[in-house]
Amino acid sequence: MGSALHLEGRHGGIMLPWRSILLVAVAAAAYLVLGAAPEGWVYDRSAISQGEWWRLVTGHWVHSDLAHAGWDITALLVLGTLFEVRLQWWVPIALLIGTLGVDVWLWWGDPTLYYYCGLSGILNCLLIIGLLQLWLDIRHPLVVLTGIGAAVKILVEINSGQALLTQTAWSSVPMVHAVGFLCGLLYILRILMVGSSVFDSSAPNSS
């Protein structure tokens, strides 16, 4: 797959991952301005059933406390920096795919979870799609090892029922990580079935 994504910009300078920086700014601002778990923004099953559908999106961009926000936003920054030069518009698109998948799971897969917030579920989708792009570009074994490591970590979390080292105000839901991860895998399957030019042909403004 030749995505024509280079680290350098058109004129040879360093290309800033501006889309990711913008998304990081949005998530950080949401926490700084709205505070922890803002009532009108979190995923709230009852409110969504009463028409407050925006929570399906906004719930992923707000956090329950500083540690929750800190880890998730840092991970978004790292992943964005690593992958945006290759994925470009596929960064937000991957996050949207993850949003769709995690929401589907929250709604139908775990009806006892009334409230949810946090980026990590959809970040796992970005991680897998980013790893695929990286693998297709450089075919380095570290990429595969990272994917395997992420999968093992998720399995350990699911088994223990909590995040390994983080204690957040809202208890951890490891299944959302698995769902985000699977969303990425499903998308990869689609790419493999359609052909490796998917990123090139679909991504807008792939320079």
Binding site: R45, L82, Y114, D137, I138, V143, T166, W170, S171
Partner: protein, 696 residues
């Protein structure tokens, strides 16, 4: 989808079933007038409700003004549904412009006194309890072309389930007492001011407060752990004029009176308030006590909020759905059938189900247990859709058939959905109890509306080790049922016992605790003597294995903040005694015990009533003003509590009873340092390739 998810899905489908059961309108709380038109109707001019929830219980004060627009004196009769586990503790009638509080007497004595005063044309009032259905307040006379002011106060425990508290101000009448409905017409319109104020004070952080179906409610978070809710048709809590929308009468339950700009509030919908505690709070033990200085004996309310250590259930179950298709379900049935169809579609292969329907008789819709295949689901959906509901409610027959259908070697659960009262066939509570004990099955009961026989259904569920869920029409029904879901899909602590050593205690209520499901709190009332450290153990069995939780804390030598605890303890005892009577028939000793508790603690029960007469009449009859004195003490304590922020009642901070945090319905996707460590090789790779100039 695994089995556990399958079970969850069944419940999710049931949500749909029950959500549609509430489509019909029911009669409401209000002033009653004979339906034959023999007496003209009075009006409710003002209706003000103030609710204070603090320290684990709710105090509801309802102040009303009745108007008599006619040319002759009339009696006002106000009826409202009995709120959960509550008793009226104050009836105040304004006589000659001054408030006179009532006293509790044995019921017949109170009635006689009221009737004498009424016949003599003197001011009087009485509040009685019509079993589990309604509180009835009569005031006489409401003089011609004048108004009468009346205040009612009731107390009830305020529990939190899986991190979510719930308060219901019940207004809807369930519509199952046909004789009463035929006799009376209820005027449920408030022509003047209506307001509903709720103040919630909690030392445990509350993240949000919500009133489903009341989007116009004004909800404020105040400093000191306090939340305030206002709903009204005139002015806001702060005294300012309401928003334009409210002035225009756009709020639920209001309409404009013809020819006026006054919004009318109709008392036909329950008001439900939820509050959500911060997720991740620790499992805890809270103690609220009352022990006046110099008193040997104190009264306590202990609230145990378990940590989340009940694991999800992995094994499958047989499900038997026992569904009420009596006449009261008419108009709801089509959607009920649709909901059942959706529920069955959510079942996974390998799960089995039976459907039992009951009205005057019970019949099984299925032919034994059916595997949940697409074919069987389609088949029974079509049959369900063709059934027409009607006739009476033979609950016993329905339960009997459901229980008899169970298979011994499979884990089974029986789900009963009903909105009514057993009115044909076997109706004795004792027989129901015997029936439910015939098989080892958990009964989960969904009790719809305010007039269903909640005491019976709660006793049955408790006896089976299951639970009953009361659901209001105004509830977030989906949320309520999903809360039940989380309980059913997890292990439970069965055979719960509580032991308090190191200090003398007695009169613990409930005597038999039963089971504790995930998210449920254990509330125990009792008396204690002396003061000092006590060891408290809560024990039971989880999946057949013994489990004990314990902590040590001190009972206070003096505690005067919460005198209402005495009444709450007394009413819990009354409920237990009443349950015994319901189970085994009326017993003179139990009846006397209820009467004595009612009179001593000022509680309206099945055997006591609260009567208001002129002060001189109280004196003339030698009636002690013990309730008046009790109310004065409670009023002082209430004012002191009002002036300070929420106080923590947690007593196990030093030695927590639970190591895990409370279960909640909140969750967050959170990454951690391991995730970032995983990215390090990629970072190294990227930097390395840039430094070495490797393309891409």
């Amino acid at each position: 989808m695994n089995r556990q998810t399958g079970i969850k899905s069944i419940w999710q489908g049931l949500v749909l079933v029950i959500a549609v059961l509430f489509s019909g309108l029911s009669p409401a709380a209000g002033l009653l007038t004979p339906s034959d038109g023999s007496l003209p109707a009075l009006e409710i001019r003002d209706h003000h409700v103030v609710v204070v929830i603090e320290d684990g219980y709710a105090i509801t004060t309802v102040e009303q003004v009745f108007i008599n627009p006619h040319d002759r004196d009339l009696e006002a009769q106000y009826s409202f549904p009995v709120p959960d586990h509550s008793s009226v503790v104050e009836l105040t009638v304004w006589i000659d412009g001054k408030p006179v509080t009532g006293e509790v007497l044995e019921r017949e004595q109170a009635r006689q006194l009221y009737e004498e005063e009424k016949a003599a044309g003197r001011d009087a009032g009485i509040t009685e309890k019509d079993s589990y259905k309604t509180f009835e307040t009569r005031v006489s006379p409401v003089r011609a072309r004048q108004d009468t002011r009346v205040r009612l106060v009731y107390l009830q425990p305020a529990q939190v389930d899986t991190g979510i508290g719930r308060y219901v101000y019940p207004l809807e009448e369930g519509g199952v007492d046909e004789a009463k409905l035929a006799f009376w017409t209820a005027n449920e319109q408030v022509t003047g001011q209506f307001s509903f104020e709720l103040r919630l004070k909690s030392a445990y952080p509350v993240e949000a407060v919500r009133l489903p179906n009341q989007p116009q409610a004004v909800i404020e978070s105040l400093p000191g752990g306090e939340w305030q809710v206002h709903l009204g048709n005139r002015v806001t809590a702060s005294g300012s004029m309401p928003s334009q929308e409210i002035q225009e009468g756009l709020q639920t339950g209001t309409q404009a009176l013809p020819g006026t700009n006054t919004p009318v509030f109709t008392l036909d919908q329950d008001l439900v308030v939820y509050w959500r505690h911060q997720a991740g709070l620790p499992g805890s033990v809270d103690l609220v006590a009352h022990k006046p200085a110099g008193s040997e004996r104190g009264t306590f309310m202990m609230v145990v909020t378990p940590g989340d250590d009940l694991k999800p259930i992995q094994e499958g179950k047989d499900w038997v759905f026992v569904l009420d298709v009596s006449g009261s379900m008419q108009g709801k049935y089509a959607t009920l059938a649709d909901g059942i169809q959706r529920a069955m579609q959510k079942m996974r292969l390998g799960d089995r189900f039976r459907i039992v329907l009951f009205n005057s008789n019970a019949r099984e819709l299925t032919s034994g247990f059916e595997d949940a295949t697409p074919e069987t689901v389609t088949h029974y959906s079509q049959i369900l859709a063709g059934i027409t509901p009607g006739d009476s409610t033979n609950l016993y027959d329905g339960l009997h058939m459901g229980i008899q259908s169970l298979v011994a070697d499979r884990t089974s659960a029986l789900v009963l959905v009903t909105d009514g009262v057993a009115n044909v066939g076997e109706t004795r509570q004792r027989r129901f109890l015997e029936l439910i004990k015939q098989k080892d099955v958990r009964l989960f009961t969904f009790v719809l509306g305010n007039s269903a026989n909640r005491p019976l259904l709660e006793v049955l569920a408790k006896a089976s080790g299951g639970f009953a869920v009361n659901i209001s029409n105004s509830d977030d029904i989906v949320g309520q049922l999903l809360a039940a879901t989380s309980r059913v899909t997890h292990e439970a602590l069965h055979g719960v016992k509580i032991k308090i050593n190191g200090i003398k205690t007695a009169d613990l209520t409930p005597g038999q605790i039963g089971s504790l499901y995930r998210g449920q709190q254990l509330v125990v009332f009792g008396h204690y003597w002396g003061e000092g450290m006590a060891n408290v153990r809560v024990s039971g069995q989880i999946s057949g294995e013994d489990k004990t939780y314990q902590t040590n804390f001190a009972f206070p030598s003096v505690a005067t903040d919460n005198p209402e605890i005495e009444r709450l303890w007394a009413y819990a005892r009354v409920e237990e005694a009443q349950q015994e009577i319901n189970n085994f028939g009326e017993d003179a000793d139990l009846k006397q015990a209820i009467t004595d508790l009612g009179v001593e603690y000022g509680l309206v029960t099945d055997y006591t009533a609260m009567v208001v007469v002129r002060n001189e009449v109280f004196d003339a009859h030698g009636i002690k003003r013990s309730n008046k004195a009790r109310l004065a003490i409670e009023d002082v304590a209430r004012q002191q509590r009002n002036q300070r922020p929420a106080v923590s009642r947690r007593v196990d901070s030093q030695q927590p009873m639970y190591t895990s945090s409370r279960p909640s319905h909140s969750g967050g996707g959170s990454l951690d340092v391991w995730t970032l460590l995983l990215f390090l090789p990629l970072v190294w790779l990227t930097i390395h390739r840039r430094i070495t100039g490797v393309a891409r």
